[in-house]
Subunit: 523 residues, 2 copies
């Protein structure tokens, strides 16, 4: 039986857990039964009122909300392909994505309705046939229909089952260079992505899960797929704010949180932080960008019983490939610099430029295979073939595997700094600087240098009230990394580092003033 579809999980869970709380979103709360009914109304509205067929795309441009979760679930029940838009995209990018994907129906919330409409009209006639406004209020905002009206008019109805090979998500990747590419993922791949993780990092019905990261990311599988199937509770936050996140954990007795290291740093460094405010947490999952060792050490000292998991993956793998498990964190030592081992169902390899598999200990491109990979870059056969050459997905990340199969990322290939012919992996330098007591955040980039091509440059945000000189930072770095890796210059900032929609430090923006008018060679 080909049963890798969300139908098999979602519908029985609605019955089984009917009176439990599934979603908390501000003052809104829904039980499994109520959420299920709204999803079946939404599914009916998508098909009947909006004419969305099984393979039609619809876009969502909205902050995290219960409506967003409903739209995801309707797509997973087989009512079209959801195209979750990154909220930090420029108008031109949005226009490109909507046209490239052939999206004609969009759901927007009050925060993004105006910007979306403007982006769609900028290049002439809007490609959008229907814009549906989510939530209350906003009568003055551009829209054709209201989501609540559609739901009120629809009869709850269980959609026909999709096939496991049917696409369910079309998610565009940032693409630091060139145009964004649509990552088309099937039901089957999404189910396996979840299964792979759950086999080694239990996800269960007792969990109250807080998602302060945007659910337009691939990494949102736990709240979107796993917990609604298993009986857990999902607490949604429309945006990340450190004070508000502390407040939500405390108020809802959150047991698991998933975040990026930058968020964690902002929470632990917040004036309102007190250790007891996060006591309800029994597990914390982080990923998407490297965790500074000093931050991790501090977290583990504060919460010795907290089960920590680090994930590594990408949109193309519908998200996760490796896990640094709670047991790995307890072993500590050099493992804390690893992103963990391949999940069951994933095989990793390290390859050189010719596709030769390298032995353990040697650095090359991180490649992977697994049932969780996308079907294709949307209508880009060449880019798809290139990404999967030799049967392996090529990540563009540089790393090595140790003898036990732990993966160490040395750097994004394109983030590597080449100085005087030596390769410098910025994470190493960032780790060295982050252990300085005065440092709250640090990013290391390459800036142009007449002699070495690139020079190592650090951008540092200090903790409130702390002071330190450029020379002290450089000396502190030299104490733990080789001289050529230590920064040649340090820049201090008052503001937090700029973040991408995925909450990664936007090194591109940090580099931009230094490289204006020049071309940086990218490996």
């Amino acid at each position: 039986m080909k049963e890798l579809i969300y139908h098999r999980h979602f519908l029985p869970a609605i019955d089984r857990f009917s009176s439990r709380t599934l979603v908390v979103d501000g003052d809104y709360r829904a039980t499994f039964r109520d959420h299920g009914e709204r999803v079946l109304r939404c599914a009916s509205a998508l098909r009947r009122a909006l004419g969305i067929g099984r393979r039609d795309r619809f876009a969502v441009m909205a902050a995290n909300s219960h409506e967003y979760l409903e739209l995801y679930h309707a797509a997973y029940l087989g009512c079209g392909i959801i195209n979750p838009l990154n909220l930090r995209l420029a108008g031109k990018e949005l226009d490109y994505i909507v046209r490239d994907s052939g999206t004609e129906v969009a759901f927007v919330d009050r925060h993004f309705a105006a910007a979306f409409d403007q982006a769609m009209r900028a290049a002439g006639k809007s490609p959008i046939r229907r814009t549906v406004l989510l939530g209350e209020g906003g009568a003055d905002l551009p829209h054709d229909l209201r989501y609540e009206d559609l739901l009120a008019a629809a009869e709850p109805e269980i959609p026909a089952e999709p096939e496991e090979e049917d696409a369910v998500v079309l998610m565009y990747t940032g693409g630091t260079t060139g145009l964004p590419k649509g990552v088309l993922v099937s039901q089957r791949a999404e189910m396996l992505n979840w299964y792979h993780l759950a086999m080694v990092f239990p996800i269960g019905e007792e969990q109250v899960f807080l998602m302060p990261t945007p659910i337009f990311h691939a990494a949102s599988m736990i709240p979107i797929l796993a917990l609604p199937a298993l009986g857990g509770t999902v607490v949604l936050a429309p945006r990340f704010d450190p004070a508000e996140t502390l407040e939500l954990v405390e108020r809802h007795r959150v047991t698991r949180i998933s975040l990026v290291p930058t968020m964690l740093a902002m929470m632990l460094n917040h004036p309102g932080f007190r250790p007891e405010r996060l006591r309800s947490l029994d597990s914390l999952v982080y990923g998407a960008s490297p965790m500074p060792e000093a931050l991790l050490t501090r977290l583990m000292a504060l919460y010795p019983d907290l089960e920590l998991g680090q994930g590594y993956g990408m949109t193309e793998s519908s998200s996760i490939l490796t896990l640094l498990s709670p047991a790995d964190h307890r072993r500590g030592g050099k493992l804390l610099r690893s992103v963990g081992r391949a999940l069951p169902g994933i095989v990793l390899s390290i390859q050189d430029e010719d596709g030769i598999l390298l032995p353990s200990g040697e650095t090359g491109e991180v490649c992977a295979r697994g049932g969780n990979y996308m079907d294709e870059y949307w209508r880009k056969a060449d880019a798809t073939a290139e990404a999967f050459r030799g049967g392996w997905y090529h990540s563009g990340d540089a790393g090595y595997l140790d003898e036990e199969g732990y993966l160490y990322l040395v750097d994004r290939v394109k983030d590597m700094i080449v100085t005087g012919g030596e390769n410098v992996y910025s994470i190493e330098v960032e780790n060295a600087i982050s252990t300085h007591a005065a440092v709250a955040q640090v990013a290391v980039i390459g800036i142009p240098h007449e002699v070495w091509g690139e020079a190592v440059h650090a951008v540092v945000v200090l903790r409130a009230g702390a002071t330190v000189t450029e020379e002290e930072i450089i000396a502190h770095a030299r104490a733990s990394v080789g001289g050529y890796k230590a920064p040649k210059s340090v820049e201090f900032r008052d503001q937090p580092l700029p973040l991408s929609g995925a909450m990664k430090v936007l090194k591109r923006e940090l580099r931009e003033p230094h490289w204006r008018g020049r071309t940086r060679r990218v490996n």
Copy 2:
């Protein structure tokens, strides 16, 4: 990517865990590396020396051993379809299975070589082209080749990858009536069977797992698939013996054991049992037949921290459908009479004779669907279509689901006793009798009765030194079940109850003397 094949798990694990112990079998121990090398030699021998192609069947008739595990792993790497023979079959059944499956190569050990040979020759020319003898010694036993010679002559070689739809196991079901049927299971179904369980009952690298049940059963997925992929250790025992099992747990610091309730009763009632001998266990999985409540209560009182899991499934589902989880056991109460809830990926329904889905609380036939189901009964299209009518596998078991989705088996439909027009489910009566302090084992059957058609009859094995009368047992039962359910007669036995190859009480044998010369109506 279609990656649901064991290749993706086994080969990376051999590298990753190379120097750890994977198999313990008496005095034999093998690391992951050594076991892996033997499997690759075995795979090569199967293909090159024995001419077994990807879809050819080979049979194994042997007690649990490391060689048996190697043969399983070679099949999972894509070198033929393994046909594990039940060791309790009569010669005529063996002959039927070997001919029905078209098996031409058989692996036998010294315990079964003579009986197998005799069975093959009984009906004339043996269908077996090559008989390979496993293990040391036995030069006088009938065989063509020796396994160790084949391995010594083979070069370790990684076989070409199978497809996930390729069949890997052909396992004949007992079939209490009629001829045995071959259950043909694919790589994909076996992987999902494991994934489903692991998502809610973690299986991991720290586990030392003891398998006292025969690995010719579908329920052997944890030692055959999961632990060799995840870095655990498998302790094999050639046969079940309560004293020896206690000894193995103690000697190897076993952390998880999987057994049937009868075995547990024999261990806890053994004169050599002392609670501290099983202290290393952190989890215990049971299934295949109902657990008497008194036994379960005793186990939980002895080991309050033991994580208990009960599974329910069948060969056709490549084994497991439901789990009564450790948390469910801790909740206790009526849940202890349930076999738990559907695993993720499984959907259960209760159907009446017309295939109508019944609401919760109503008893009917237990039906299920999931990606772990067999492809077919080997070359029996009609029986396959009958089993899967309406898209659901029909188990032949009677049961109901409660409102939270917990499954309660009231009885095997065919084990139900019909007395005076009332249905009596024997498990209820067995539970009632098992709480009597003098009772070690009990089985309840229907025996012919002139007035009621069938009368309820109990077969009881007393604890060492205990005495009790028939009247006392009947009165004890009446205290907790309705009068028509209480036994009309009780038979005391000195010997343990007869067990099937699957370690289920062979009620057929208990019934036989009562029904000789009569026909029992089976629903």
